[in-house]
């Protein structure tokens, strides 16, 4: 059981995504001798979903997507099981049953199986596609060979990134959004309106407040019926309506069970989780939830790996953070984009309309709790770090007042002032 010596520990990682491969590097940085086993449902080397839209937009070829190769697993001495899904977790005998009737034993386990697009059987049968994996991207690309038209469901980041990629290819696009703005989970209505304007300017049809009532696949197209009564059809329909975690059968089979502490430990002894699959404490809202993004996955995988290998590393907490270019607009969004109701919050805005720049910082009792940056991402990393470290704004400006805080001047929030 746990009686093996440190150097002979058997550390098993489920998932070859950002969390998984970060964990491998972390483990090796702590313990060169532990044995590492990697199980991945995908039969490919590791890649980041961040790169997939670049691949779709033909900015990258397929080979360029992969960030590991054979030598990565070899030099890190990882025993690999590719193309095998992990099915059931048996904590009593510290084992995992994987596809192919194989049982893998662990001393420490990392569940980093990620998440999959939320797509019901109806939608799948109606040939609606999603974008998460490289094979998803391959599917979309092959559809594009036959069609120059697409309908995208959802106004979230993934949907808009796909729309952006397709618009670069000259595809005629319609985006259907349930809520009354795009990016309803990332930006406020003002920024959303800027994005919407850009989209429309690029010839994309954006329909807000619209839901799909039913879908049907006929011949080579998908037919959609909307709550407005309209019907749309398109040979290519892509849905970006959220993810669901890839859970294992066993004691952690429910979403809420997969919660981790700041050492990435689940409620089960010797079992860790990292990445999109798990639920953790949001560093700002102090609420438990999924915060699935690549930086979080890498960070969490690293922390999990270190701890599995015997080090003692803590993570600051989960944080929503994105930086993306959409329709020529540079958009960075970290933490809270709108203060919740209730007191104690303050919002500082700065804009330069002629240069299409907009920056918004949300503060709570002089701490930065969120930032939205449009077309000027100066100091994005500084702000992000301050959010994570719960940096005090009063320490930032020599004048000590929030009113004199000028967002145009990076000096004012430079880490030099927020220190040690």
């Amino acid at each position: 059981m746990g009686n093996r010596k440190i150097g002979q520990r058997r550390l098993v990682i489920l998932g070859n995504g950002g969390a998984g491969i970060s964990a491998i590097s972390a483990i090796r940085s702590v313990d060169p001798l532990a044995s590492i086993v990697l199980v991945s449902s995908e039969n490919s080397y590791a890649y980041s979903p961040v790169a997939l839209t670049h691949y779709i937009a033909r900015e990258l070829n397929r080979e360029q997507l992969f960030i590991t190769d054979e030598s990565f697993y070899k030099s890190n001495r990882v025993e690999t099981y590719f193309g095998r899904k992990a099915i059931e977790l048996s904590p009593k005998d510290q084992s995992i049953r994987i596809q192919g009737k194989i049982t893998v034993h662990y001393d420490k386990l990392l569940i980093a199986t990620g998440a999959s697009p939320l797509l019901t059987a109806d939608y799948r049968n109606a040939k609606v596609l999603a974008l998460r994996s490289v094979s998803d991207a391959d599917m979309i690309k092959s559809c594009l060979c036959r069609s120059n038209k697409a309908v995208i469901l959802g106004g979230g980041l993934v949907s808009l990134q796909v729309a952006d990629a397709l618009s670069k290819l000259g595809v005629s696009i319609t985006v259907l959004v349930s809520s009354n703005q795009v990016l309803s989970r990332n930006v406020d209505s003002f920024v959303a309106s800027i994005v919407q304007e850009r989209m429309r300017g690029a010839g994309i049809r954006v329909q807000l407040g619209t839901n799909v009532v039913s879908v049907e696949g006929r011949k080579e197209s998908t037919y959609l019926t909307l709550d407005t009564g309209q019907t749309l059809s398109s040979p290519l329909v892509i849905s970006g309506k959220g993810m669901q975690p890839n859970l294992l059968e066993g004691p952690l089979s429910k979403d809420k069970d997969m919660s981790v502490d700041n050492r990435m430990q689940t409620p089960l002894e010797n079992v860790y989780a990292a990445g999109d699959v798990c639920v953790g404490m949001h560093v700002i809202s102090n609420q438990l939830g999924h915060v699935g993004n690549w930086p979080n996955a890498c960070d969490q995988g690293w922390v999990a790996g270190c701890n599995m290998a015997g080090a003692n590393v803590e993570q600051e907490g989960f944080l929503n953070q994105n930086i993306t270019k959409l329709f020529g607009l540079e958009l960075g969004s970290i933490g809270l984009f709108e203060p919740p109701s209730g007191g104690g919050f303050e919002v500082i805005k700065w804009s330069d309309e002629s240069r299409h720049i907009y920056r918004k910082i949300v503060l709570k009792e002089k701490r930065i709790v969120g930032a939205t940056l449009v077309n000027n991402i100066d100091g994005a990393g500084v702000i992000r770090n301050l959010i994570l470290k719960k940096g005090q704004l009063s320490a930032l400006s020599p004048q000590g007042t929030v009113e004199r805080f000028s967002l145009g001047n990076p000096l004012r929030y430079h880490p030099m002032y927020h220190l040690v």
Binding site: L60, Q64, I67, Q321, E330, G381, V382, N385, P410, H414
Partner: protein
């Protein structure tokens, strides 16, 4: 112990020569947006300082790059531009804001110490920039540098610290 470019706030005069030579060495043109070192000025407080990559021993940027374009060689963090997809996650991650972007080429750029002979240090007219070793490890490296900066800053500007 790797050498790094360190900064003496008492000596900086805000002449921007570091930015100018950095930009020129890398692009043969003078454009601050192409400089891997940035100079900041607060005229009122008479504080000037330059900041460039502190070559973290445990770099956050490297860990987050989705195309593994960032790598570490002899303690220096470098970018393989051909792999960079221009996602800017490294810029979102660097806690000091020391990652920059070449808009023309669409790739991230950062200080790579000019192959061991940093030009900003060579051209700095006052010796505010020096290239030397610092005896700390991991993230402590950054903290020490900034603790030094803060100390220097506060030393020379003791007045405002006591005024609320």
């Amino acid at each position: 112990m790797a050498k790094m470019v360190i900064f003496d706030a008492k000596k900086c005069i805000g002449c921007k020569i570091c930015e100018l030579i950095c930009s020129f060495s890398n692009t043969k043109e003078f454009g601050i947006s192409n400089a891997r070192i940035r100079n900041f000025i607060d005229l009122q407080e008479a504080v000037f300082f330059s900041l460039t990559c502190v070559q973290c021993k445990d770099p956050l940027c490297l860990k987050v790059c989705p195309s593994h374009a960032l790598y570490q060689e002899d303690g220096v963090i470098k970018i393989q531009s051909t792999k960079c997809i221009g996602c800017k996650l490294c810029m979102l991650t660097c806690p000091f804001g020391n990652m920059h972007f070449d808009d023309e080429r669409g790739v991230a750029i950062k200080c790579e110490l000019c192959g061991g002979n940093p030009k900003c240090v060579e051209y700095c007219p006052t010796g505010a920039l020096r290239y030397q070793e610092i005896e700390t490890v991991a993230l402590e490296k950054q903290k020490t540098l900034f603790a030094k900066l803060k100390e220097t800053y506060l030393e020379s500007r003791a007045v405002w610290e006591t005024e609320k």
